[in-house]
Symmetry: C2
Subunit: 223 residues, 2 copies
C-alpha cells in the first residue's frame, strides 16, 4: 500500500456515504445530505473519504471533488455473505454484538456476533411497499399513515395496509433479534425504533464504521 | 325477501368466488378456477350462487350465466371493520375462533373470536413483493426462490430477499395469532403453511363460509 497522509483528528476530514438516492456526509459531528446535482454547492475544502453503492452518484462526487478517496479496500469485515453492500459492512463494523437495521430505500437486517457478520436479510423500504400494495389491488394503494401503536387491530383498509406493513417489518426484526440489542440507522430508523423496545437509533452508525476502518488503516490516529 | 328456491343438497348448485385475477368455483366437492374469457367454456348447467370483489369479472360471469345470484346480502358477519371484502367476510364466517389468512394477490390476516371479527391487516401478495423490491434497488429484483426453512441466515442477495419476504409475512401472522389456530386459504396457503406450526390449509374456506350463509338464508337445507 502506498504511504498515505495521516490525520490526527476526525475534524480534519469529511466522511461520505454514497447511497442510491442521497449522498450523506459527516463533517466532524455534523451530518448532512445532498442530491448529486447539489454537490458543488457544498464547497467542501477538507479531504473526503467515501464509500459507495451507486456508481452514478460516485461519478458525480468525483467530478466535483476529484481527490475524494474510496476506502472500501482499507478494511475487512469477517463474513461468509457474498455481495454484502459496503454500507452494510461499515454499519456492522461499528457493532460488536447485536442486530444492525438500516432502514432506507431498502431495509437491511444483519446479525453480528463477536465482530463476525452471521448473515442477514432484506425487506423493501417503507416508502417502496406502496408499489407492492398497488399491484396487489388498486384499493390497497393507500397513503402512508404514521401509527402510534400496534395494540389496536385495524378496522378499515387504510389502517389495515399501514399496520400490516409496520407489523411485518417490526416482527421480522424482533424474530431475528430475540433478546439482542437492535441498532437502527437510515431515514426510517426513528419511526421504527418507537415500536422496538430493545433498540437504539444510531444515525451515525455507517460513519462510526468508517471511522473504525480509517483507524485500522492508520489514516486516522487512534486516541 | 321474496320466496326463493330451496336446495336439498350442495350437489344441486355451484358456488362461485369472483376475485381480482381469477374466478373460483366449487361444484359439489370439486374446485376449479377460470379466467373471465373462459367462463362460457365451463358450460355450467346448475344454478350459480356467487360473491365478488371485482366488478368487471362479475359482469363477465353474468354475461355468460345471467341467472347467477349474488349472495352478499344474504348473511351478516359481526364486525366493526368498515369495507371488509366479501371474500374475507365469508372466510371468517367459516371460523368460530382463530386467525384467517387468505394468501392470494394480497395477503389478508383476520382475527375471529367466538364468531365475531375483531379486525385484521393486509400485506402485499408474495408475487407482488417483487415490485417493492425493484423500487428499493435494481439489484433487489430477484427471482422467487422457495425456501425449505428459515433456520439458516441468508448469505447472498437472492436468499436475503426471499428470506426477508417470507420471514416478515410469517412473523406477522405468528405475532397476531399467538397460540390461536391459523386457517390458511388462497394460492400461497400451502407454501406459507409449511412455516407455521399451528396452521391448517383450508382450500375451501371461502366456500365453507358461503355454504353457511346459504344455510342461514334457508336457500340450502341444513342436514
Amino acid at each position: 500500500m502506498p504511504a498515505r497522509q495521516s490525520f490526527t483528528d476526525l475534524k480534519n476530514l469529511v466522511l461520505c456515504d454514497i447511497g442510491n438516492t442521497h449522498i450523506h456526509f459527516a463533517q466532524n459531528y455534523q451530518l448532512f445530505s445532498s442530491a448529486k446535482e447539489d454537490l458543488k454547492r457544498l464547497g467542501i475544502q477538507k479531504e473526503i473519504f467515501y464509500i459507495s453503492v451507486n456508481e452514478e452518484n460516485e461519478k458525480a462526487l468525483l467530478n466535483c471533488y476529484p481527490n475524494a478517496k474510496n476506502i472500501a479496500g482499507f478494511f475487512h469485515l469477517e463474513t461468509d455473505y457474498i455481495g454484502l453492500g459496503i454500507d452494510r459492512q461499515m454499519a456492522c463494523l461499528a457493532v460488536n454484538n447485536g442486530v444492525v437495521v438500516d432502514a432506507g430505500s431498502a431495509i437491511t437486517i444483519d446479525l453480528v456476533k463477536e465482530g463476525k457478520h452471521l448473515g442477514g436479510c432484506i425487506l423493501p423500504g417503507l416508502a417502496q411497499y406502496i408499489h407492492a400494495y398497488k399491484k396487489s389491488a388498486k384499493i390497497l394503494e393507500q397513503p402512508f399513515k404514521t401509527l402510534d401503536s400496534l395494540e389496536i387491530l385495524p378496522k378499515n383498509t387504510r389502517d389495515a395496509v399501514n399496520y400490516g406493513m409496520i407489523l411485518s417489518v417490526i416482527s421480522c426484526i424482533q424474530h431475528l433479534a430475540k433478546n439482542q440489542k437492535i441498532y437502527l440507522c437510515g431515514g426510517d430508523a426513528k419511526y421504527l425504533s418507537a415500536f422496538l423496545p430493545h433498540s437504539v437509533c444510531k444515525e451515525r452508525l455507517v460513519f462510526d464504521g468508517m471511522e473504525i476502518a480509517l483507524k485500522k488503516a492508520g489514516i486516522l490516529e487512534c486516541k
